[in-house]
């Protein structure tokens, strides 16, 4: 069952959605970039469309903005069907990938561009631009041209420009894609703060899962024009619905096995290297083939064999990657499969540090797994 549509029905019966996307499809000469997608977004939400390039997320965003015409389906914003509205009449603004600032206009004129199109009186335009400059803390740079600004400053001009008209919906296309890593982390929080301060509903597109996780209240994972899963970041990380999602978000160890014992309160799954005791029931039956997903940080390492006959495996450390705050160990199990285990480096020095060639036991708790049936 498609988890997104399940979420929709539930939500639709409750509060009325602010932005409603109904069976939206975009067909490019037989290639369905967006394939029958439905989604409800509540007012004030920051919603992220996450997927690798070519998954259709940008096409979906461009349909919202009006740059692409849907082949079928509807987009309804605050009760108004947007189909008949050209981009310049839609009550939404977009922050473009790499910003698309007008190079011949100053920061001030860039922000004022949209306000002037509405024919606002001069004084009102000036007030609004000043307010926006203050919001993004660029007052000193009002007279500069975009090329005289740093990447981070340009990003803030783009944000100010897209917020100037007080849009009902803010669209962000890879909002931080053009910034380097360090700046991106700082900007993520700043951007969320500004969006929440303004209180605008926001749909963003990104290929960066960290960005989606930190910024969005809900995420839709997209692949080949469809939603694979829609949910809060922790929901998607901790309970991925499919193998693809589990693999796409973060790091994961996937082990194929089959259900040996199916009880209402637990199941036992046999895999090549170990037997899993899963502390909750699953919808399935004995003998069914399943995949067990195990996040690297949920696995522990020890030199002695653990007491539990379940949920442990013996192996040799073949590789380790040091990341500073944590280290990822690649443990080769008897079958030749490799288990990724990530351990936080809590202490600066450890006498019994695991290293290459060590024989270790990997073990994990009874609630660490996610059992995937699809």
């Amino acid at each position: 069952m498609n988890p997104s549509s399940a979420g929709n029905e539930q939500r639709a019966s409750g509060d009325a959605a602010f932005l409603r996307i109904e069976h939206l499809t975009k067909d490019f000469d037989g290639y369905k970039a967006v394939n029958d997608v439905s989604l409800d977004i509540a007012k004030g939400e920051i919603f992220a469309l996450l997927g690798s390039s070519g998954c259709g997320k940008s096409t979906l965003l461009r349909m919202l903005a009006g740059f692409e015409t849907p082949s079928s389906g509807r987009i309804v914003l605050a009760g108004q069907d947007l189909a008949s509205l050209p981009p310049f009449q839609r009550p939404m603004n977009m922050m473009f990938q790499s910003y698309a600032l007008f190079p011949h206009l100053t920061v001030w004129d860039n922000i004022a561009f949209g306000l002037r199109r509405d024919g606002l009186p001069k004084a009102q335009v000036a007030d609004r631009v000043e307010a926006m400059l203050k919001l993004v803390q660029l007052g000193k740079f009002a007279k500069r041209k975009p090329h005289q600004l740093s990447g981070g400053q340009q990003q803030r001009v783009a944000l100010a420009r897209s917020l100037a008209k007080q849009p009902q919906l803010l669209l962000l296309d890879e909002p931080l894609g053009a910034l380097d890593k360090k700046l991106r982390e700082e900007t993520q929080i700043e951007l969320v703060n500004i969006i929440e301060q303004v209180g605008v509903t926001c749909v963003m597109v990104t290929h960066d899962q960290e960005e989606a996780m930190t910024m969005a209240s809900r995420i839709a994972i997209m692949s080949e024009g469809r939603f694979l899963q829609v949910g809060a970041p922790s929901e998607i990380y901790e309970t991925p619905a499919t193998r693809f999602v589990a693999d796409f978000i973060g790091n994961v160890n996937l082990m194929d096995g089959k259900v040996d014992d199916d009880q209402p309160d637990h199941v036992i799954i046999g895999c090549a290297d170990c037997r899993h005791y899963v502390g909750h029931g699953i919808t399935g039956n004995e003998g069914m083939g399943v995949t067990v997903a195990l996040r690297p940080e949920k696995i522990h390492l020890s030199r002695k064999a653990p007491d539990d006959e379940f949920n442990s495996a013996r192996g040799t450390i073949k590789e380790l990657s040091y990341f500073g705050s944590f280290t990822v160990y690649h443990v080769e199990l008897a079958s030749g499969a490799r288990l990724k285990v990530s351990l936080a480096n809590v202490q600066r020095h450890r006498d019994d540090q695991f290293t290459w060639g060590d024989t270790v036991w990997a073990h994990w708790s009874r609630s660490a797994h996610v059992v995937l049936t699809s």
């Binding site: 473009f96 698309a100 011949h104 199109r117 090329h147």
Partner: protein, 310 residues
């Protein structure tokens, strides 16, 4: 000593050579001849020879510059009139080329990328035929019973042209300001289209989407975004049309008439009818100065546009 050698070596390095070569070219084939022309313009004629500017006679070093030609240019209304006429026709041609060339270049730049090389080829196609032949052909098209003349007369456009003062009488199209400007526009149009196309083709189309997103109609986006961003192309195209048009000789000669005396013709007369080389040179020097001023403005804009792109 070593430092000096290094300096010398860097002077003859590849980089300086590459930069220096065009300068050397301009020095030898532009500045040097121009100095000669200038020298002639201030020289006294002695039957068939020019007098030396600097003479040493009885221990007195004499420099004699004959400025009467320049004075004459300012005094005789003919010169001022022809300079102004040249500027007027060149300006009219430039505006027409811009009005025709801009939409053309715009749609060419927005055409399917597979179609663009063909369109570009078509723009350059006229260069395959002799320029003289193409201009001469207009004589046939515009004189009595010519196809274009018949068309214009039958559709009544000649009445409009007469009302606008571009032809002396309805039905008379040849040897008029109209035929002159038509010929120059026809000839110089590609020089307007090519730089405009180059500029418009590399424009970032997302800027237009951004403008639309912010509430601009296609028309507003065109005037507020596309036109200002293509300024460099407009200037380059206009210069390429305007400058050669001022000194144009062949087209006014073939298509112009008594009304359309331009500076090229005046120069020709001074050189070959009056055989007054100093006078002719003075006219040429003034014309070059008239062109250098707009060129300087053009260069300044180019530099500024470069600054923006950085």
């Amino acid at each position: 000593m070593n430092a000096l050698l290094d300096r010398l070596r860097s002077l003859v390095s590849g980089r300086s050579a590459v930069i220096g070569l065009p300068y050397l070219w301009l020095l030898v084939f532009f500045l040097f001849p121009f100095v000669i022309v200038f020298k002639i313009s201030v020289s006294e004629m002695e039957t068939v020879q020019f007098k030396d500017l600097v003479t040493l006679k009885d221990g007195v070093l004499q420099l004699s510059l004959k400025l009467s030609n320049y004075v004459f240019i300012t005094e005789d209304a003919l010169y001022l009139k022809t300079y102004l006429a040249s500027l007027k026709y060149a300006a009219a041609t430039t505006l027409l080329c811009l009005a025709i060339g801009y939409p053309f270049a715009y749609f060419m730049a927005r055409a399917k990328s597979t179609l663009q090389p063909t369109l570009l080829m078509l723009v350059m196609l006229p260069f395959w035929t002799s320029f003289l032949l193409r201009v001469y052909a207009w004589k046939g098209l515009l004189s009595e019973n010519g196809w274009v003349a018949d068309l214009l007369i039958n559709t009544g456009i000649d009445q409009l042209l007469y009302a606008a003062g571009m032809i002396p009488a309805p039905g008379k199209l040849m040897h008029t300001p109209f035929s002159l400007v038509l010929g120059m526009t026809y000839t110089y149009l590609p020089f307007m289209i090519l730089p405009l196309y180059g500029n418009l083709a590399k424009m970032d189309l997302r800027l237009l989407e951004a403008a639309a997103d912010l509430g601009a109609t296609a028309w507003t986006a065109f005037w507020k975004i596309t036109v200002p961003l293509s300024k460099a192309g407009i200037i380059a195209g206009s210069m390429l049309v305007f400058i050669p048009c001022i000194g144009e000789f062949v087209i006014p000669e073939l298509l112009g008439g008594p009304q359309t005396l331009m500076i090229g013709r005046v120069m020709w007369d001074e050189f070959f009818s009056n055989n007054d080389w100093p006078m002719a040179s003075s006219v040429a020097v003034v014309m070059v100065l008239l062109i250098i001023v707009p060129l300087a403005i053009f260069n300044k804009y180019q530099a500024e546009a470069q600054e923006v792109r950085k």
